[in-house]
Symmetry: C2
Subunit: 159 residues, 2 copies
DNA sequence: TGCAATATATGCCATACTGCAATTATGAAT
DNA sequence: ATTCATAATTGCAGTATGGCATATATTGCA
């Protein structure tokens, strides 16, 4: 088969995509490394969800995380003890409990996000403007074709 | 600030990169979803290492995984019981134990890799040849700037 | 008021993973 | 041959996560 056929060009693109995905996974992993002595991966996932969606009821939160409600209650215990989240009774309903990020929880989430952003910025900074434009274009096309991953999918790997 | 200044162009590229990284994380997560009832994430990481490097001694393997040697011995117990890996005494040295993938272990690793490849191929298949070329170019530039992530980094997230 | 539904928490228990210290088996060296 | 070093395992103990069934508190409805 001729290396310049569309089929080969397509599988080349697959290979490049897989390679790039490993590189990005490295960035993600390193961004997490600094906080892994303070939070576990599942716990960090909670920080992400709360950061994205704001304070949530216990039930809603456990559902978003795909966790058993009773398991999550104890899971929350540990995170409260660690000072990452706070339980507060709902204003309107005394049997509901609202979970929100504490300052520490917010700070940890921010640190990870920022580390990720900074590493990518540094990396792109080493490129020429033309290269950077090519990266932006390629990623833009890919991301719009792939769409945002459902939250449930990301939960699988705890990120 | 004018939206067409280099600075803005650069941060646009950062945003696109972060968005694409989430999309790729979704692909990775989904590829793992099917096997998560058979292996845990740390266990899958072992399959990856053995698949990349071939059979290894207990000590080498535990070191590559950043795990305590005694912890890993029991970790291996579970994986042997699950039929994912096999212990064999080394040919040259009766005190060394070599760990290798079983058929099942190999099959699971392959299933994940293949699922990942297939989803990306399908995704890229929806693009025009020009778009696909742009993706390939962008990812190629990014990947070569980022380099392969150290194995230790990937271990952090268990992938 | 009494009863059903809802939201959370607890009792109980099981598994995965982890580390430190001590043990066993083997190999290497003097 | 005895001693030292190396490779792996095991005893012991602890944390994190998970689920099922049950209990408690509160709300809403009849």
């Amino acid at each position: 088969m001729n290396p310049s056929t569309p089929v080969t060009a397509a599988s080349d693109a697959v290979v490049e995509t897989l390679t790039a995905s490993r590189a990005l996974l490295g960035v993600i992993a390193r961004s997490l490394a600094t906080v892994m002595d303070t939070v576990t991966l599942p716990q960090f996932r909670v920080l992400v969800v709360l950061s994205d969606l704001g304070p949530l009821r216990m039930g809603e939160l456990s559902e978003k995380l795909g966790a058993n409600q009773s398991s999550f209650s104890r899971f929350a215990d540990r995170m409260v003890t660690a000072g990452l989240i706070a339980r507060q009774p709902a204003a309107t309903n005394r049997r509901e409990v609202i979970i929100s990020l504490t300052e520490l929880g917010r700070k940890i989430h921010h640190a990870v996000t920022e580390a990720r952003r900074a590493e990518i910025a540094a990396l792109l900074g080493t490129l020429s403007p033309a290269e950077r434009a090519a990266v932006k274009a390629g990623f833009e096309i890919f991301a719009s074709a792939a769409g945002e991953p459902p939250a449930a999918d990301l939960m699988i790997v705890g990120l």
